[in-house]
Structures are given as C-alpha cells and as structure tokens.
C-alpha cells in the first residue's frame, strides 16, 4: 500500500507489512481451514490440531502480538486483528481467542518477568494451548485463591477441553493453573458453536500460581479478547456476504438469478454497509489500543458491539437468502450463524458494550 504523501500524516490504511500479513493469512486459511477439516474438528475437540501446528509453526504468526523477548514477533493489535479476521473468515477451529486473545495478553500484562519468559514462548510456538477462565461469571460463586490453591468453579471456558493451562480470574486474584494439577476437573460441554466449544472447570484446592498484577491481567485479557472477537466477527460477516452474493448470482428462480431481485440486492447492500462500518470499527480500535489513545476503551466497546451485531445480521441473512439449503447441516451457513451467536454472547453482549459506551459518552454527568 502507498506510503503517505509528503505532509499527509493521517494514514488509516494498512502498511506494506500489514498488507503482506493479511494476504499470507488469507491464503493460509483458505487453503487449510477448509470446511471438511473444520467439520472433522467440530466432531472431536473443536481444535484442528494440524492447522494450529501449521499456524503457530510454519507460518510463525501466532506470537504476532507477543514481544520478541518472550518468543513472539513483537508487532501489535492491528496485526493480531488481521489474523483474527482471516481466521474468522473461514470459521477456523483454532484456540485463537483462548490462547492468543485472552491468556497470552493476561500473562503479558499481569505476569512477572520470570512468568512471561517461562510461559509466553510456548504459547507463541503453539507447543501449549492456554485458556482464560472468568470464575465469577454468570453469577456463580466463582473461585477464591488462598495460600497458592484455588477453590471454586468456572462455567464457560472457551476451548477449555483442549487447553494445557488456564489463566483463572478469581475473586481475589488471577492465577495460572496447570491442566495436570490434582484437584482440577475439566468437563467439556456440548456447545452450540462447535468451532469454539466450552468446558466447565472445577477447582478443588488445586495448586495455582498467582500473577503479579491481577488487575492489569484482567484488563488486557478483556480488551484483547473483545478486539479478537470483533475482528473474527468482521471476517465472518464478510464471508457471509461473499458467499451469499456468489449463491444469488447462480441460483435461478422465475427465469432470473435471484440476485437480480431488488428484495435480495438491497439486503446484500445493507450487509455491505454494515460490514464496512465494522471494518472501520475493528481497525480504529486496534490502532487506538496500539497508540495508547484515550479513545481506546470507547473504541473497543464500539467494535465488539458493532462487529458482533453485524456478524449476527449477516449470518442470519445468509441462511435466509440461501433458502432451504441454508438450513441444512451440510451447508456451512450454520457454522457462521453459530459462531456469530457465540461471538455476541461471549465477554459481554452488544447491549452491555453499548451501555459502557453510554457511560463513556458522559450520559451520567450532571445536566
């Protein structure tokens, strides 16, 4: 992409390097994250292990937002969002959100130097998968940390069934729990979205290693997790539009391609209008976090709410505009529809994020 012209310092477009990452990731997922492979993973653990190994190993991009001295690539949120968008475009069955969008940023922001150096390189290399558990979610009693042990439960842990370690946000701290630790119970849950299945965790006095700065850990995990979900939603919504446009150009009824009917064209146009706004939202949020802008909280709430709503809308339209075939298990529309729902429900619904925006916009200040 063109470098900024002289005197033009406002450059809200990808750099050459970012374009390259996007093209590489797009080609990688298109070739490897096929419907067949995703469906095979859905029937098992929800992780396409070979794809994860290739993504973290050969492609070497899993550590894109992890510093170089922790085994990563040392880039930022824009690059992480690019990868999440491309993974989302193919509903890739990967622990991307769990390991790279939640656990890694929690450790990076809240861990000691020693913890970061010990834990992050193996997440970046794909050798280990981590997930993030909010132990007090959904109004449950949650979990408490006491004398290096954790007691309680976490109800919905994304890709919890395949994680090797967990970052657990307890009521009084954040701690790392190893999969093999005695006293940890992991129950995989039958999940609507089988590309990102949940597990339930029980902690019965399980050994837990506290992170140095729990507040920073939770804040980074949420912020990055929201961005990753928004970017995944953007890629997914774009795929819903692209596939539906292609289908409506082929499908003939009443002697015409159904894509020639205004009732159909206008709905596809509305999808594009929403998607282009979602794209602005995701990359504005990513830039704002990278630049430490004082707008970053506003931006990431906006992105999570808008992109997830857009994905739900587009995936619903995908089913509707495909007609009966779109309602079958055989067609991929339900993969998008279910992932869209999961993205919206996980880590705060769009309404919740909009309420955060309302507060940030100053609605509670005195008149």
């Amino acid at each position: 992409m063109k470098q900024p012209a002289v005197g033009f310092d406002m450059h809200f477009a990808f750099t050459d390097e970012q374009v390259m990452i996007a093209e590489t990731a797009k080609a990688f997922f298109a070739e490897n994250a096929t419907s067949e492979r995703t469906r095979a993973a859905m029937a098992e653990t929800g992780v396409d292990s070979a794809l994860w190994q290739a993504f973290t190993g050969e492609l070497g991009l899993a550590g894109v937002a992890i510093p170089e001295n922790c085994g990563g690539v040392g880039l930022g949120m824009v690059e992480l969002a690019i990868l999440a968008e491309e993974a989302g475009r193919n509903t890739a069955a990967l622990p991307f959100l769990a390991s790279l969008g939640l656990a890694a940023p929690a450790i990076l922001a809240g861990g000691s130097e020693e913890q970061k150096a010990r834990l992050l390189p193996r997440l970046a290399s794909g050798e280990r998968i981590a997930s993030f558990a909010v132990a007090s979610a959904d109004g449950t009693p949650g979990a408490t940390l006491s004398d290096g042990t954790l007691t309680g439960a976490a109800l919905h842990v994304p890709h919890g069934g395949t994680a090797d370690l967990f970052v657990v946000a307890a009521s009084n701290g954040v701690a790392i729990v190893d999969r093999g630790a005695p006293g940890l119970g992991v129950t995989p849950l039958t999940s609507m979205d089988q590309t990102r299945p949940y597990a339930r965790l029980h902690f019965d006095g399980v050994a837990a290693e506290a992170l140095a700065d729990p507040r920073a850990a939770v804040s980074a995990a949420f912020t990055t997790g929201w961005l990753v979900l928004a970017a995944d939603a953007l890629g997914g919504a774009q795929a819903c539009l692209d596939r539906t446009v292609a289908y409506t150009q082929e499908r003939v009824q009443f002697g015409r391609a159904i894509g020639s009917f205004q009732a159909v064209k206008h709905r596809l146009a509305d999808m594009m209008v929403a998607i282009e706004q979602a794209r602005s939202a995701v990359y504005w949020a990513a830039c704002a976090i990278d630049e430490g802008s004082d707008e970053s909280a506003f931006a990431v709430h906006a992105a999570k709410a808008f992109a997830c709503d857009t994905y739900s809308h587009c995936a619903g339209e995908m089913i509707q505009l495909h007609g009966g075939i779109g309602f079958t298990w055989e067609h991929d529309a339900h993969l998008y529809f279910k992932r869209a729902r999961s993205n919206a429900s996980l880590l705060g619904t769009p309404d919740w994020h909009r309420e955060q925006v309302a507060q940030l916009a100053g609605l509670d200040q005195a008149a």
Binding site: L268, M272, V273, A281, W284, A302, A358, A361, L363, D364
Partner: protein, 393 residues
Amino acid sequence: MKLGFSPEEEAFRAEAASWLKAELEGPFADVRGRTSLTEMPERRRDWEKRLGEAGWSCVGWPKAYGGRDATLAQQVIFAEEYARWGAPPRLNHIGIELAGPTILAFGTEAQKARLLPKIAKGEEIWCQGYSEPNAGSDLANVRTKAWRDGDDWVIEGQKVWTSLAQFSDWIFVIARTEEGSKGPKGLSFLLVPVDQSGVTVRPIHQITGEAEFNETFFDGARTAAANILGEPGDGWKVAMGLLGFERGVSTLAQQMGFRNELDAVIAAARANGEAKNPLIRQRIAKAEIGLKLMRYGALRMLTDAEGGTLNPSALTYKIQWATWRRDLGELAMDVLGVSGETVEGSEYAFPVLPNLFLYSRADTIYGGTNEIQRNIIAERALGLPREPRGDLK
C-alpha cells in the same frame, strides 16, 4: 496504519482556529452557530467574502485560483475547526464542493481562470440544476433542452429541487443538446447565469416551513457558447464525475455538525432525565458509535483517495450518514417528548432538534435515495445484475 496528525499539522490547526475564533467572536459573531442555510443571506454572503479575502474559502484549491494549496490532512483539519468554532453552513457550498471541483477537473484553462477565483472570493454563488419533475432517481431522463443560436446556447425546460437558487449567480444545468437522444447520451453540462429574464426561480416550501429549494424555469434562457464543461454530449460523464466530489473532505466537516446535533440530544436527555432510560441510553450509544464509524470510514476513504484509488466501500457512505441522521432526528423527538411538538411565537420555525427530525427526512432522498444507493452498492460494489429498465413514458 495510524490515527492522528503530525505536529506540523497541529500547528496548521492552531493557525486556522485562531483566525476562526477572532472572526466568529468578533465581526461575524452574528452568524456564529446558525444552522439554517437560508437565514440572513446578506450576512452569509459577507462571510463568504471574508473567508475568500483571508484565503480560507477553498483551502484545497491551487493558489493560482484563489485557494491555499492545502494538503488533504490540512483540509480535514480546517473542516473540523470550521465546525468546532460554530461557523455557519456555507451559502456557496455547491460552488465550493461541486461546481469548483468539477470545473477544476473538466474545465478549460480560460474557464478555470474566469470562474474559480470568483467562487474562492465568495463573489459568485452557485446552484445545481439536475433534477426535473420527471428526472429524479432516473436522472438521465432529463428533458430540458438546449441548442446553439449564434454565439449562445439557448435553454428551455424546468429544473426542480434547486437548493439556494434564490441566492445564486450561476446554475449548472444538464440539458439535452442532441435532439431525439435518450438516457445518458446527448446531454451537455452548461453553466448558465441566473440573473436574466429567461430564468425564473420560484421557492418551494419544505416540511420544515423553510424554503431552501426552488423550481427553476428556463424559457429562452441564454448562456455564451463557451460556457460548457467538456464537449457537447459529454454531460453525463461530467455529471457523474461531480457525484464523486460529494464524497470528499466536506464529509468530515459535515460530521462535526452531526457531533453538535448529537451533543444537543445528549444535553436534552440529561436535562429531562431521559439519559437514565436504558432504551434511550442504548440509542445514544448507537448514535455515538455510528458517528465515530463515519469518521474512521471517511479517513479510510480519504487515505485511499490520496493513494489514487476509490475503494468500493466509499459507495456505502451516503446511505450510512443519511440513515444515521434520520435516526438521530427520531431519537431527538423521543428524548424531547411532547415538548418537542411546540414552539414559542407564531412563526412555523422549530429549534434545532425538532427541525432535525423534519429536515433529516430529506437526507435519505436527495443526492440519490437510500434505495438508489442500495442499487449502486449491489451493482457496482457487489457485481449483482443491473435493474432492468421499464418502457413506461
């Protein structure tokens, strides 16, 4: 990919801000904060001239034609400061945003030298003669005719919805110059002086009570043979080029106006307690998000334009802002409740927010209705089949 401006650009911002502040707190305090396009037309002309004298009228144009040679970023900054200081909508916005850029792109050297400095100095106001009673969304169906008579073009026909024609010195007209031609063929883009006996301007009252636009009748109106942009028959090409300019820097200035409107809605909601209503909070949050996404969408669009490409996403901008503003008008009335329904005094002229509710119904119609925008997006960006033409006359 990055946000924000350089220190040099911020210095430019300070210069623009200090000039605007001095003028709008000084000699032009009376036009500050005006939102209507038709109020105090004489003072608005004075303001156009003052901007022109100081070189702040058409900052992105070449200096040779009265501009400032400003970079795109500087144009954005000036637009932002202009709105931030409460400067009023530009009486000559059609000259500055549409006629000028079209003359720059398609005009001869002589046309540029004659016409552009007059726009930049605020001495000649322009309006747009596109729509006709039977050429609205189907713009290519224009029936206004023109033909050569000696050294002149002679024009016969009628235009409608000509905003600000009552204040204008010039109108640009799409007219059929090839007899018997149909659709986009055989049209020419003529520049016609308004002040002549062959041109009659009749105001149309809008649902707001104001008369911003007009019917314009051409009955043997004349303009010099040289007053044509492009060749005879190139009218459609020039007109379509012009539509591209409607998506330029002015969008960011427009957004600063939207910011002021949204702030007014929030202030009203805080004042009457509606800011505590969870449903209103959701809608205000949606409006806040939508406004930010317009800003970053426009910055993407401008960055692409600087790189010489028009990304198809630019086609989504019109429906986006128009729908956003119409929704804001409805939100404003839901916040105000019945108190938004009345106004003091006998004149049918509502304050900013109730007026927004009425005025914003035009936004989803003019410049291509939402339905036409959806066709454009579906056909040009998504590659879906074109709408078939009917054959009713």
